[in-house]
């Protein structure tokens, strides 16, 4: 049982040789490629991260630029709209004014025309009425012409005339 706690120098020697050789060999065959792969990956990750960060910053810059541009455009659109509204208002007022004016002119001229037509029509009518009256009277007179009555009438008339105006009295 004392073999358990009596170190065997030969085995100690084996251990030291074995371990030293392992350290030397493994550093070349195992740990070097492993660390290389790890470092490569860490570098790749770092690189990816950095590029992602720059891309993000870029995107943020572009976004802010676009936002600014958008705000600018919005303001521009608002301004344009206001301008257009004002000019449209003006245009509308102008058109209404013009329309009102031209309507007044038309109304005036029509009234005048109507007036002219009316007077002409009235004149026409009057002359026509006069003509018709005269013609009618002519006809009537033609029908009622009676020599004796006319003579009586004429003589009565003459007598009256003589009475009124003695200077005109016939001296015969």
């Amino acid at each position: 049982m004392e073999a358990l706690i009596r170190p065997e120098i030969g085995l100690m020697f084996w251990t030291i040789v074995c371990f030293s050789l392992l350290v030397l060999l493994l550093s070349k065959t195992a740990w070097q490629p492993l660390m290389q792969a790890v470092e490569e990956r860490e570098r790749a990750i770092k690189h990816d991260r950095r590029s992602a960060e720059t891309a993000r910053a870029e995107a943020e810059k572009i976004k802010s630029e676009l936002d600014a541009k958008l705000a600018e455009l919005k303001a521009e659109i608002g301004r344009r709209m206001d301008e257009a509204r004002i000019s449209a208002e003006k245009e509308k007022d102008l058109l209404i004014e013009e329309a009102r004016k031209s309507a007044g002119i038309i109304v005036e001229s029509s009234r005048r025309e109507i007036e002219a037509q009316k007077t002409e029509a009235a004149r026409d009518l009057r002359s026509k009425v006069a003509e018709l009256t005269i013609m009618a009277a002519e006809h009537i007179l033609m029908k009622q012409l009676d020599h004796r009555a006319n003579t009586d009438l004429a003589s009565r008339y003459l007598a009256e005339l003589e009475k009124e105006r003695p200077e005109l009295k016939l001296d015969n």
Binding site: I5, M12, T15, S27, T29, A30, P33, L34
Partner: protein
């Protein structure tokens, strides 16, 4: 049956033959075989796993990678500072070497090479060498020994403190060696004792033995799971303490 014999059979290293190497008599034993298997796994399987691009092996690759990165970021760099990255390979090797040797003790017909005092002593000596090597490399030979005594100690205490610190260096190493050894051996002993309970109770009567068997097997399973945890934990503790000692040697303040 003799419990001592059973324990010896299962825990003590079996030396098959001796090889002469100069003045040294080197044993060829079961624990050496386990260490060889561990080395083979580390030398063949690990590089293949790391270099393979196959999707089926990706989880294993990821496990190795995560462990190494954990050791680098949580153990090596906080203790050794930014210069410590170069030592990541050493600590990774140490961790996997101890871990696989621990785990081989849980495999049928396997044995824990780390449950052998010589093996843990060898590992502790490499740590001892690393501590002094890194300290001298970082601060220079004179600077290292000058900074061995912590700052703020009055000058007249130096003759006392210096030997204490030097002793401390050895004691740290010794504690490292004993800690790993004891932790690995303890689990095995407990499992063996639980199994022996069955036969001890069986000696009173067959009914006692049959009653004790399920309880013992349950406890053995529990202890095995505990040993699995301890295998990882002790590998981590060994590596972490090595990193702390090395860091202290590199940066005395």
């Amino acid at each position: 049956m003799d419990l001592k014999l059973i324990l010896e059979h299962h825990i003590v290293d079996k030396i098959w033959t001796w090889v002469a190497f100069g003045p040294l008599r080197l044993p060829v034993s079961k624990h050496l075989l386990m260490m060889g298997i561990t080395s083979l796994i580390l030398l063949v399987v690990f590089p293949l796993l790391i270099r393979s691009r196959s999707g089926a092996l990706a989880p294993f690759r990821a496990m190795i990678e995560m462990t190494v990165l954990f050791l680098r970021d949580e153990v090596v760099l906080p203790n050794l500072g930014h210069k410590g990255a170069a030592y990541t390979g050493y600590f990774s090797t140490l961790f996997f070497f101890i871990l696989i040797m621990n785990l081989l003790g849980l495999v049928p017909y396997g044995a824990s090479a780390t449950g052998n005092l010589a093996v843990t002593a060898g590992l502790a000596l490499t740590t001892f060498a690393l501590i002094n090597f890194s300290g001298i490399k970082e601060q220079g030979l004179i600077g290292y020994f000058a900074h061995l005594v912590p700052k703020g100690v009055p000058l007249w205490l130096y003759p006392l403190m210096f030997p204490i610190e030097v002793m401390g260096m050895f004691i740290k190493t010794f504690a490292l060696c004993i800690r790993l050894f004891a932790n690995m051996i303890a689990g095995h002993i407990v499992i063996l004792v639980f199994i022996c309970f069955i036969f001890i109770f069986g000696a009173f009567g067959t009914a006692f033995g049959l009653l004790a068997a399920p309880i013992s097997v349950g406890l053995v399973l529990f202890t095995l799971l505990l040993e699995l945890l301890v295998a990882f934990l002790q590998a981590y503790i060994f590596v972490t303490l090595t990193a702390i000692f090395t860091g202290a040697a590199m940066h005395p303040h």
